[in-house]
Structures are given as structure tokens and as C-alpha cells.
């Protein structure tokens, strides 16, 4: 008995901790179907906690803007939108558990017809198979790993392994990484780079695009020093790695496949701290957000010339519909959208179009309608979905960093004409 009493505080403490943990994880999973045949629910699953929040805030704003324009009403259907988080505070980034929970919630809620998201390619690997079984249409504003859609462009077996139902359900309104990596390599060549070091963050997206970049470099005759090195993003600094790069054959450019959440800013600062000078730094679109510059400090980029590739036109130099979007966004929210806001908006527009075309509250019909979208006059131009679910829009730009802000430098067509 005595022993039991002595153990009591431990047990109760653990119980409290457990409850806290459960409620912490459980937010947002309690919604149920309304049963209203005229209500269609659309959820988005994006990392809403952590440093990606700045970027995903503007994506969510973009989605909401698209729905606002139609007054949350498409034909007979009332749109209900729910903004789900696939990140946790403890991790500061997306987690597989949260992404799976969000997908499960969507599947179980009979009202949910469309799933906008996710943001990270690694998260897409988790949620696509779950949603595929239920035949829920996915529209991602940011997932760029080619394997998600393109047979033969990703790992062996992709994208079939994500499609237990046998038909694709994943679409994206953003150009995939095979285009972006090739663009990056061509841009590097144009910058006069002959030797590169390729690093990645060991995640689906980062490692994927870094590998593609490396292959493209080799094809263009750019020497890749030391193969490709993965980092562990939990490490607080990378001076050991930088010391090796600084002490070895000097690269003209260091490429890091990763995001501002997986230590790209720290790597930028560590390059300088290791005494490397006259070296360029290139990162993909996962770093095309203000927090990347903030975390590394604007000063860093005065000494370290940094090149950021991005699928699409940056908001400040857009034309036509893209420009219209940027202006509307600025008027509505009072600040400039981040790079991906337009894809949030476009994803919202695609969701509306799919419901309109399907004309019924049925997952299969909406999915089929979305894959049938052709010559869609969207904010990113006039484009169609191909049979894999990829957008045919393939605008790609390169940006540099000046005075603490991104500055447009080059676009895909400039490199292709040569």
C-alpha cells in the first residue's frame, strides 16, 4: 500500500503529461460531418507553426481570397474552409504524425471533398496514399518533388506507390523540381561556375532537388566536388563540414537543397564563418521567403552572393493576372504576399473550378473534374493539368538578395534561348 502511495505522484504526473500531450495534438480533430448535402468542406494542411508560418500565412490568405471572391458559394454549394496545421511546436516543422492525422480527418469527414496541401514533399509522401484510397482531390500549392506525379522522374516505383486506388488524386499548381533543378544548374553555368559543392538536408524535398541539381551540373560539365553531403538539421552548427570545404578544393558555388526550416540560414552564415570568400551560394524555392533572410541576417548576403530559384514570377515583377493578384492581395491584407501566396490562391481557384465542373457533392466526380481542367485562366497564366496532375505552367525565376529583400535576376526563357 505504502508503495502505491509513493508511486502516486509519479503516476499522476505522467497522466497529466499524457493528457496535455493528447489535447495538444488533438486540436482540430473533433469536427464531424454536418450532413448538409449543400455544404462542401475544403481543408488545407500546411505547417502553421514554426518558421514556415510566415510563408503559409500568405498561402492561407491566398486560399481565403479565392473563396472570398465567390462569397464561399459555388453553384448550390456552400464552401466551408478549415485551415489545418501539420507542424508541431516541439518540432518547429511538419511531422508525419500530424500530416497523417489531418489526412485521416479529411477521409472520415464525409463533407470534405478537397484537400489543399501539403507544403513539404516529405509530408505529401505520408498523406497522398491515405487520401488516394478515399479518392479525395489534393491540390498542393508547394510540393515540388517530381516523384509525386511524374513516373521515372523520382525514385523507382514513384508515383505508383502513392496510389493504392490505381488512379492519381494528387495535383499541384506549382512547377516540379526537375524543372527547377535544371534551371538552377543552367543559371550556375551562366554565372561562370565550374566547381560546385552540393549539400542537402536529408529530407525528401531537399535531398531530391540537390540530387537533381548535381546530375544537371554533371551534364553541363560543372565539376561536383566530394559527391553530395547530407547534413543533420538538428545540429546547431556546421563548422566541421565547412572546415572541410574551406580546406579542400575551392568551389565556385555551394548548393544547399533545403528550406529555411532545415538550417539553410545557418549554413549561409557558417560559410562565411569558415572564412570562405568569393564563393556563391544557391538555394531552391524552399528558402524563397522573408524568414530565410531574417534568420541569416541581411548583412550576411552582402558578403555572400546568394541565388534563390523559384517556380513562378515574384510578386513584385508580375504582369497580367499575376500582377492583378498581387495588387488585390496588397489591398486586402495590407502587405506584400510571399512567393507562394499566389499558389495558395491558384489552389483555391482550382478547387472552385473543380466543384463547378463536377456540379455535385461527390469525391470521385470532383476528382475527375479537376484532372480534366484545361486551358484554365488562372493567376499563374493559362495552363492545364496533364494526366499526372502537374500544371503545364512552367515559369521559373532566379532571384538574388539585396538590402534584405529578394530581387528578380533572371527567368527560364533567358536561359533556354541560349
Amino acid at each position: 500500500m505504502n508503495r502505491v502511495i509513493r508511486l502516486l505522484p509519479v503516476v499522476s504526473l505522467s497522466a497529466v503529461a499524457l493528457c496535455l500531450g493528447l489535447t495538444g495534438c488533438g486540436n482540430g480533430t473533433s469536427s464531424t460531418s454536418s450532413g448538409d448535402p449543400n455544404t462542401i468542406k475544403i481543408v488545407s494542411s500546411l505547417p502553421r507553426t514554426g518558421s514556415a508560418k510566415g510563408q503559409t500565412d500568405t498561402i492561407v490568405n491566398g486560399i481565403k481570397m479565392a473563396f472570398d471572391e465567390v462569397g464561399y458559394q459555388v453553384g448550390d454549394f456552400k464552401i466551408v474552409y478549415e485551415d489545418l496545421d501539420d507542424a508541431t511546436a516541439a518540432q518547429g516543422a511538419w511531422t508525419a504524425e500530424r500530416e497523417a492525422a489531418n489526412a485521416d480527418q479529411a477521409v472520415k469527414d464525409a463533407d470534405t471533398m478537397i484537400y489543399i496541401g501539403p507544403y513539404n514533399s516529405g509530408a505529401a509522401k505520408v498523406s497522398i496514399p491515405i487520401l488516394n484510397k478515399a479518392g479525395i482531390l489534393m491540390i498542393s500549392p508547394a510540393v515540388t518533388w517530381p516523384g509525386m506525379t511524374k513516373p521515372g522522374k523520382g525514385d523507382p516505383g514513384e508515383p505508383g506507390i502513392y496510389q493504392p486506388s490505381g488512379t492519381p488524386n494528387f495535383t499541384r499548381v506549382v512547377p516540379a523540381d526537375d524543372i527547377q533543378a535544371a534551371f538552377g544548374a543552367k543559371w550556375a553555368k551562366k554565372l561562370g561556375v565550374t566547381k560546385v559543392v552540393v549539400l542537402d538536408d536529408n529530407e525528401t524535398y531537399g535531398k531530391g532537388i540537390a540530387t537533381l541539381f548535381k546530375e544537371n551540373c554533371r551534364e553541363l560539365g560543372i565539376k561536383v566536388i566530394g559527391g553530395q553531403q547530407s547534413i543533420d538539421p538538428l545540429q546547431p552548427n556546421f563548422r566541421n563540414l565547412m572546415a572541410q570545404i574551406a580546406g579542400g578544393e575551392k568551389p565556385d558555388l555551394i548548393y544547399f537543397g533545403g528550406t529555411s526550416q532545415s538550417k539553410a540560414p545557418t549554413i549561409a552564415k557558417d560559410i562565411l564563418a569558415a572564412g570562405l570568400r568569393d564563393v556563391k551560394f544557391m538555394v531552391p524555392d524552399g528558402c524563397f521567403e522573408l524568414t530565410f533572410i531574417q534568420q541569416a541576417g541581411a548583412e550576411t548576403f552582402k558578403t555572400l552572393p546568394t541565388y534563390v530559384t523559384f517556380g513562378g514570377d515574384p510578386p513584385d515583377r508580375a504582369t497580367g493576372k499575376t500582377k492583378e493578384f498581387a495588387e488585390k492581395y496588397l489591398a486586402k491584407y495590407g502587405k506584400q504576399p510571399e512567393g507562394y501566396a499566389i499558389y495558395g490562391y491558384e489552389a483555391g481557384k482550382v478547387a472552385i473550378e473543380a466543384i463547378k465542373k463536377a456540379g455535385q457533392k461527390d469525391r470521385a466526380a470532383i476528382l475527375a473534374a479537376a484532372f480534366g481542367i484545361e486551358d484554365f485562366d488562372g493567376a499563374t497564366g493559362k495552363w492545364s493539368f496533364d494526366k499526372n496532375g502537374d500544371t503545364t505552367a512552367r515559369s521559373m525565376t532566379g532571384n538574388t538578395i539585396e538590402n534584405g529583400a529578394f530581387k528578380y535576376a533572371i527567368q527560364l526563357s533567358d536561359l533556354e534561348t541560349e
Binding site: 511546436a89 553531403q229 538538428l234 531574417q294
Partner: protein, 355 residues
């Protein structure tokens, strides 16, 4: 394996020695806090790494109060930088010591006679609380007047490499343009060619702060009367109390000392090895320090330093020979091997010679 990945790297093994030594010295400062607290109250204070993390944010706040963070760093005057570093080195250890003592008084003290598991679980809880506090702290500090997401990394001002500091140091012959002491005219006249070896002003600062601190601590525990009281409490708290030692005060002092060391560590780390700080920093660094303490024999002061140096070298040589992404895995494999084959650690002994 067995061959450096960037094969042409000149001097890479000597360089790894330097890098391992500096990284290890910093881990040692945290490991000492773990090992001392364990020695006295047999508690593994998992919140210790997070005290270190909050120290970096406190140091950042000191700089923010002086207005030398963000874009203003590059244009800060030499006087402001010296003042900033001095204030950080003075206030951060005080803050961390107070925080550590506060945690003990608030959380661990009421559980002193509870089963060992209770304070241990509480320590993990405190660690989570502090991590969230760090996140909140980051969120309320703007960068160049702009709000930052709370869970993002934070650009710690590189005070030692601002143009004004660098120019002065180069003029004095202390280092070259990129901060390498061995390439400075002073060192070159004495040592000759450095052969590409990189030993920077930052590495020098780490050694200059950590080594005297560790020596001072050893002296203090060995020769002062309070140190004697600490050793007595570690051996047998009841007997120590019977001899007229105020055990509670000794425990409090241990937490103060451990916190202060972590505070020094956080300032030096943020100024030198860590270019950015974030709320998860303490968790990772705390695990390394804990491993170091166990490796050296938990409760053993020289052991903690030895263990920390071993970990520093495992990280630096591991990065060269096996690959950067495997470094933390290697450190924890060592922890497991150690716990299985020699649970008392390298220098630990069964006679419970603690602190």
C-alpha cells in the same frame, strides 16, 4: 570510409583537432553543470541544456537593448561592441545561475525526498517549459523592426567579425582578413607558415574563456571550504548535515555554479561557434553534454571535461571520415556502448567519489 570525403583537404586532421577541441570545451561547460548536480543530489537535470539555450536568448536581448543586433551590427562602433561583450559575459551567467537556482527551489526541492523518478520526470517537464519559453522569447524580439516567427532560427550578431573589429585586429597583427590568428602578422613572425590551418579569433576566445573557468572550478571544489562542504554533501548528505553543513545552501550553490557555467558557455558559443540560435539548441547540446558527463563518469568533474573533449573529437573527425549526418548518431552510439560496458564512465569509480 576512412578517407576524407573532400579528399584534397589540406591539414584536415589537424584542423579537426582544433575544431574538436573548441567544440568540446564548450560542451564541457554544460557537462560540468550536469555532473555537479548529479554528484550532489543524484538528479539528471535534463533542463540544464535549455538553461544554456535561454542564456543565448538573454545574451541576444542584452545586445538588442544596446541596439547592436540585425543590420546595426555591421556599423556598431568598437566601444559598443566591447561594452556588449562585457555586459553579456557579466549578466548572462548571473541570469542563468538565477534561473537554475529558481528551477531547483521551485521544482526539485519539494521533490527532494520523493522517489528518484519524480524529479527526473519533472526535469523533462521543465525542459519543455523552457523550450517553449525560448520560442516565445524569440517571437517577441523583432529583427530590424520586423516581427519574426517564434519557432525560427535567430541571427546572432557576429560581433567578432564586424568590419571595425576585424580592421583593428588586422592592424594589430592579431589575425588576417577572415579572422585566422595563424595568418596574422604577429603569429607569422613567430610560427612561420600555418600551412592553411585555421585557428581563428573565435577559437582563441573559446579557449581563453573555458580553460580558466574549468581550472577555477576545479580549484574551488578542491581547495575552498565551500568546496569541501560540497564534496562532503556529495559523499553523504546526512553526515554532512550532522557536521553542521547547511546542505540546502550547498545544493543551491551547486545549481548556481552550474547555471553560471552554462551562462558563460552560452555567450561564448553564440559569439563563436553558433552563427544562429534557436529554441531547440539546448536540447541537442544538452544531450551531448549529458553524454559527455556519462562518458567521463557522471559526478566526476575532470571526467566531464574529458568526456566533452572526446565528443568534440568524435564530431569533428566523424564529420571528416564518415559524414556530417552521422555525427550525432556516432556520439549516441558511444553513450550506449559506454552504458553497457562501463556504466561508471572513463574516470568514474565505484567508490562514489562525487563532485
Amino acid at each position: 570510409m576512412g578517407v576524407p570525403l573532400f579528399a584534397e583537404a589540406a591539414n584536415i586532421y589537424t584542423q579537426s583537432l582544433v575544431n574538436g577541441l573548441t567544440a568540446g570545451s564548450l560542451i564541457a561547460l554544460i557537462a560540468l553543470g550536469y555532473t555537479m548536480v548529479y554528484g550532489i543530489v543524484e538528479l539528471i537535470n535534463f533542463a540544464h541544456g535549455d538553461v544554456f539555450m535561454l542564456g543565448t536568448f538573454f545574451a541576444f536581448t542584452v545586445l538588442a537593448a544596446l541596439g547592436i543586433t540585425g543590420a546595426a551590427t555591421a556599423t556598431a562602433s568598437g566601444g559598443a561592441i566591447v561594452l556588449g561583450i562585457a555586459l553579456m559575459l557579466l549578466l548572462t551567467p548571473l541570469f542563468c545561475a538565477g534561473l537554475n537556482l529558481g528551477i531547483d527551489r521551485l521544482v526539485y526541492k519539494p521533490l527532494r525526498r520523493a522517489p528518484k523518478l519524480a524529479p527526473l520526470v519533472s526535469a523533462i517537464g521543465v525542459s519543455f517549459c523552457l523550450m517553449n519559453l525560448g520560442m516565445f522569447w524569440n517571437g517577441i524580439m523583432p529583427e530590424d523592426g520586423k516581427k519574426v516567427p517564434s519557432a525560427s532560427g535567430r541571427n546572432f550578431p557576429a560581433l567578432l567579425t564586424t568590419p571595425v573589429v576585424r580592421d583593428r585586429m588586422v592592424d594589430a597583427g592579431l589575425c588576417d582578413e577572415v579572422g585566422n590568428v595563424l595568418e596574422g602578422s604577429l603569429a607569422k613572425s613567430v610560427l612561420g607558415d600555418s600551412g592553411g590551418l585555421r585557428f581563428t579569433v573565435k577559437d582563441l576566445l573559446v579557449i581563453l574563456v573555458t580553460v580558466p573557468l574549468m581550472l577555477a572550478l576545479t580549484m574551488f571544489v578542491k581547495f575552498s571550504s565551500v568546496g569541501k562542504a560540497m564534496r562532503a554533501t556529495a559523499q553523504n548528505p546526512t553526515a554532512a548535515q550532522l557536521m553542521g553543513i547547511n546542505v540546502d545552501r550547498v545544493i543551491g550553490l551547486t545549481f548556481l555554479l552550474g547555471g553560471a557555467l552554462a551562462g558563460f558557455g552560452s555567450v561564448v558559443a553564440a559569439l563563436t561557434l553558433y552563427t544562429t540560435i534557436d529554441y531547440q539548441l539546448g536540447f541537442q547540446q544538452g544531450l551531448y553534454a549529458f553524454t559527455a558527463a556519462v562518458l567521463g563518469g557522471i559526478g566526476n568533474i575532470p571526467g566531464a571535461v574529458l568526456g566533452a573533449l572526446v565528443i568534440g573529437f568524435v564530431q569533428s573527425f566523424g564529420s571528416v571520415l564518415v559524414g556530417e549526418k552521422w555525427t550525432s548518431a556516432m556520439v549516441f552510439v558511444i553513450l550506449i556502448v559506454m552504458l553497457v560496458f562501463r556504466p561508471t564512465g572513463l574516470l568514474g569509480s565505484r567508490t562514489r567519489e562525487k563532485v
